[in-house]
Symmetry: D2
């Protein structure tokens, strides 16, 4: 692919310059993620929930054009017809191209989209370097960078699904790092009942970035409970399968059982039927028994926990545990793009951040006092607070420095194509 | 309909005799509810979510046969083939007739089902009178009575839908009581932050009946908030419609908006397009402006609240408010079978019980330490803890003495055929 | 069922009186066919293609009200709302109740429908006895009688499907006649190339009744070919199954193969998986090896013929063979309601009429010079000339004296619930 | 696009050399048709009925590999995994990639497919030049060339649909020839009843190529009738629309009307709602009133004919008329790729060949004595003889020298994306 990388960032000698550098870095990262893909690969949409890589590249650029550049005096749209194509779901802005048909867009070409990126980037960086953005535009730009990072993760999970759907099942990259892990015994970490502060102060009134759905900070009574020290491993999950977990109706939510039967689930997505190999972004590999199991739906995570006589943690239990922990872990920048086994060591709670998103038993909803972002961006998060479950902690495909303890990801319980795993919780005996 | 009423209850001179009397009364009530229906009416299934009246009559009887009588020595099944027909969803017991095909069951006839009821009732009452039931069987019998009451409400909501689907739109009964109400102004009742005890002790270990999903009692921190003194009225909801509420995408959950468009919703279920009349169990009637609006989906309740700058209450806010309130209200025994306006008077919170189920913003989930009922009845509630929202307080179609402050009803957010309304809540200014 | 039989026919001393007698007889026959059914049975609609018995009884009555009585001076509709309910597909008349929802009509009741029949019959018979019908009304009445006979057959095939769908699988009647047959060897009857006159003169210009789709008479060149002397038997079809016919893709039309896979066909509809019994209107019975196989789709009939190195006859080959044959055979009045084995004897072509409809290789289309019936009744046949195949000869469920050599029945190739079988044809060696 | 054109054909000094030249020419034509497309364009599948251009290029190549090269001694498959990807529907050969998912195949790339073409072509041409192909392989090669020409037409109709589905609606080519036509009055050409020879002798027993579905030659009695001298024009069809043809239920087949309502048809596919412009392979253009209307479904063609008091011709009427006419007309090689108005002149029947395929009233079926091609190629045509209608004469997108008087094309009645139009017929007054 003839990538159009944004110009090198300026030296960070001012806040605006620092922001310009950060902007350029994040934007270049998206292009780099698409670099292993042909224009044809970048166009595949393997299911309505997933989007083509090219669409991710264009939509994130549209976000900056629409929410940063469009408010600048004298802005001329790069291509008026593209507004329709690359609006995702902001209905208050106008109609958008139907999501399931994103894979039909042979035009604009990948090359045109990369040119579009370069032109938008040049304008944004010039504005930043001239310190010409009003505070509100700066805020929207910052939001756009977090937004872009979310799409970087989706680009990876979506292309993984697309390549797996092709009977040739090619690897995304042949040069990914990977290493086998050793076993870390499962231990339980007890917590007494306590009132905890949940959430993050509302941005941008408060300086640190957070999404609207993380606010306001509020007090929650978290009951006494215990958390597992690490996510469930492939070896453990394979025992569940061997014990007939996929055939035992009593372990499953009613809707999960129906889905399991209708789609013939016998194991996590991307495993082979022999339970020996899994499809990764680096192609087919032997299952690492000690790595966290991933590509589970909520239904599978929940059934596994029930089989173990345990349960999923609430998002509050998870956040209470993560509150004092630095958000370090195996993220996308480590270039594994697959979860790895827990590190050795005695730390009470391992892998809270990175490797796999952890399903919680908390339905996605509003915190008391929730206020959506102002204006059109109010559609960013709030309108999805129905029928989805919270996941916490980030994954091996999440950009470094993107998540935090208060970060709330959410997916439908049927979703399996994210790097989603499970950490057990249990009530006091 | 040639109803086969259970024999008159014995004098209540012992706990078992009292239970026999209660059993006979509740069982007779179901038959009475079906009495206005022809055998043909009792067979209609107007959508997969609803069941024919005959099926309700048979299934509740099967419940007693399977969970009470079947464990008695020497029990001979009344009709072995009917197990398959009248099992609802207890997959651990065996396969069941597909739910969407319940309306095809012309056999057994209504008459046979009523005979079945009479024969099961005779056996159960004989056992009770002989005090021959072991404690566990007594518990399952008691559960069966609560179960039967739930189906009494469903029988009413399902037949309402069935009659409305018929182009002739006949009334279920022509002799229902009804009276117009006067306006009660909306007032807000403030509550400070507090820790409250939520739920009920686990039955049957504890004597008072409660479903498994109401247990265990646990402490929840309820934030400061205000609750409306009464449910939203038809007049208020009509203002929402007049103001374009059904056309304002920004008020709606994403899934709700899609559903609203796909099905062309312009008003609550059962209203006419002129917004002047509504279909009731007594046929078409003028809308009573002061009566609580009902037959709202969660999506409509939520959009209305947002339009008002308010929100739905959590189930904990609701239960905290109801904790000290006797569960009195307009229930089914009053023979209105339609919600009525708030009574005059200064009581802070009116109509918490009865009239309309109140949607809450709480997703249906397990309380910490939740244990499903033992054995096959573990499927009763637990497996539906996904994709549904909690409603509280009972309705005009709920049997008297069925609900309580800790009672948790749950439906999918798209459900409109229940008597579901909305009470507003708001955060402190 | 409390049947409301039409009054006894007057003595046939005039053409109008004869028509009145015929009218009364045919109308009474429909009621008699429904007599073994409860009101509940008469309401079942087991698939969109089938209609409830009650609907057949009402629709055929509506036909006479709408096309005969409505044109009489001073006619007052019996119930204006029922026009909508019992119009089948005459869009030029007005909208009709959606076909797949006919099974939801608990009202009007079966009893009301039977009263409706009685009242319409009384008026029609009075008009006939008074010789008060204009010629056009007489024609429409006559058409209505043929129409009623078609619905008599559908009533039987639809209730058979409905009872079979019920897990209890009750018989329609326990008192049907049946007897085992003896084998009749398969022989081929050769025909040379010839020009034949196909079809019937247009009624009512010509006195003998025929549907519009049978006209005009026209000349067709029928090539040299041979026809089997009788329909394919159960024993022969069982050999096809044993030889793997349902697993051999090369025998099937592409669409038939897809359907066969999707629905898991392994044998004709109504056979058990052991290939030993079949469900009949008299309940489950052992398969009679010498009876004609029936309840085949076009796809199965066609695949069987191909497996035999033969083919289906064209409708012209069939009609040429039947032209000189009296339309006698095993029809519904014989009260078997199931096909029987060929009679002994040397007649060249056995069972052309009755027992099973015979699929032909002719797509349903217009004859050259085809003119639909005048007015609204133009919708009777013409608009279905797409995607259907012709069947010939009538079945064991067809009323006596209903079919003729030129009679064209038509169904979609997937249809299996009619008494449809197969007679082989082949080209000259 | 970096096209990999086959090597120049050898001088045609022998039958094998002539065949090699023809092979090279046809194969090069396919590549040339895809030349205006990017790799992304060549991957779009806009509906299950259509295939990506890349797939057409690969599948036609697979056809030669599988049916010509695979039978050569020592043949090594170019890529064993591609058999699965590029088999279309030959189930007797093995499973095939699901048709609706052809658009997900980013791999192999267009470049790889073009290399595949070049390698197969080199081997085939070498064999031809060495005169090393056995007669049967030569036959299959010849069939492969006709097959390739069919896919050349589909490539054009499929890419037209794909580009139109893209909201940017780009042209396939900007350099197409086009010219406005002048009006040619509609005249009727009468024919008396006659027996005609229909069809072509079976190839390869007979030297001239024909598909199996065109054989054997057989006698058909064609009744007296009249045919229009030219196809219906855009101006004429616009009158049908103006007269409310799309709203007049009485003109339509029942299934066609349902489809028309469900999909909101108001005009032919590719017309704008103002009825002034149409989308062509050259982009949006003003409607030429005198050009033949095209992109009609069977249902629209049939409804139009009925509105005119006429009907569609049978395929036999068409073939009888075309029997003595040289198959010349506006085909794809003229580089218009859009139908043009009738030429001036007195010839009785204009445009029988080329411009638009003409829907007939003949359902697609087998001729008496039909024998499918031997072996796996028996699946080529025969298994589709159900639910489709015959079209005759070829279109502006059909390669020159591909069609003939006996040629039978067939599509489902709902199909609109082919260049399908209508010529009227009528019965004698």
């Amino acid at each position: 692919m003839n990538t159009a990388v944004a110009s090198p960032p300026p030296a960070a000698t001012s806040p605006a310059a620092a922001l310009a550098a950060r902007y350029a870095g994040i934007r270049a990262r998206s292009v780099a993620l698409a670099a292993p893909l042909s224009a044809e690969d970048a166009m595949v949409q393997s299911m309505p929930d997933a989007s083509p890589s090219k669409w991710h590249l264009a939509h994130t650029t549209w976000f900056f054009e629409r929410f940063v550049l469009a408010s600048q005096p004298g802005h001329v749209p790069f291509n008026a017809e593209w507004h329709y194509l690359f609006n995702s779901y902001y209905q208050s802005i106008g109609p958008a191209h139907a999501r399931p048909q994103r894979g039909l867009l042979s035009r604009p070409s990948l090359e045109e989209v990369l040119h579009y990126r370069a032109r938008v980037d040049a304008q944004v960086i010039a504005l930043l370097q001239a310190d010409a953005l009003a505070p509100q535009a700066c805020h929207q730009l910052l939001l756009g960078l977090h937004h872009e990072q979310q799409h970087q993760e989706l680009l990876l999970t979506d292309i993984k699904h697309a390549l797996w759907c092709n009977p040739l099942q090619p690897a995304y990259r042949d040069d990914l790092v990977h290493a086998q892990a050793t076993a870390t015994p499962l231990r339980w970490q007890d917590s007494p009942e306590q009132i905890v502060e949940i959430g993050a102060p509302a941005w941008p009134a408060h300086a640190a970035f957070a999404y609207d759905n993380e606010s306001p900070v509020h007090r929650v009574l978290v009951p006494a409970h215990a958390l597992a020290n690490r996510p469930v491993s492939n070896a453990e999950y394979r025992q569940f399968i061997a014990a007939g977990g996929y055939a035992e109706v009593g372990l499953w939510m009613s809707e999960g059982w129906a889905l399991c039967q209708a789609e013939g689930w016998q194991h996590p997505l991307y495993w082979d039927d022999a339970l020996e190999r899994e499809f990764t972004l680096g192609g087919w590999r032997p299952l690492d028994p000690h790595a966290p199991v991933c590509h589970l739906s909520y239904f599978e995570a929940d059934a596994y926990a029930r089989w173990q006589g345990a349960r999923l943690p609430t998002e509050f239990e998870w956040e209470a545990a993560a509150a004092g922990v630095a958000p370090h872990g195996h993220f996308a920048d480590a270039d594994h793009l697959h979860p790895r086994g827990a590190p050795a060591g005695d730390h009470a709670l391992l892998q809270l951040f990175g490797d796999v998103w952890e399903w919680t038993s908390s339905a996605y909803g509003a915190y008391p006092g929730f206020r959506p972002f102002a204006g059109n961006l109010g559609e960013y998060n709030g309108k999805f607070m129905n029928g989805q479950w919270i996941l916490r902690g980030g994954s091996c495909a999440t950009p470094d420095a993107h998540v935090r303890a208060s970060y709330r990801n959410f997916f439908a319980p049927s979703a399996r194509w994210q790097f989603s795993g499970v950490r057990l919780a249990r009530d006091p005996a």
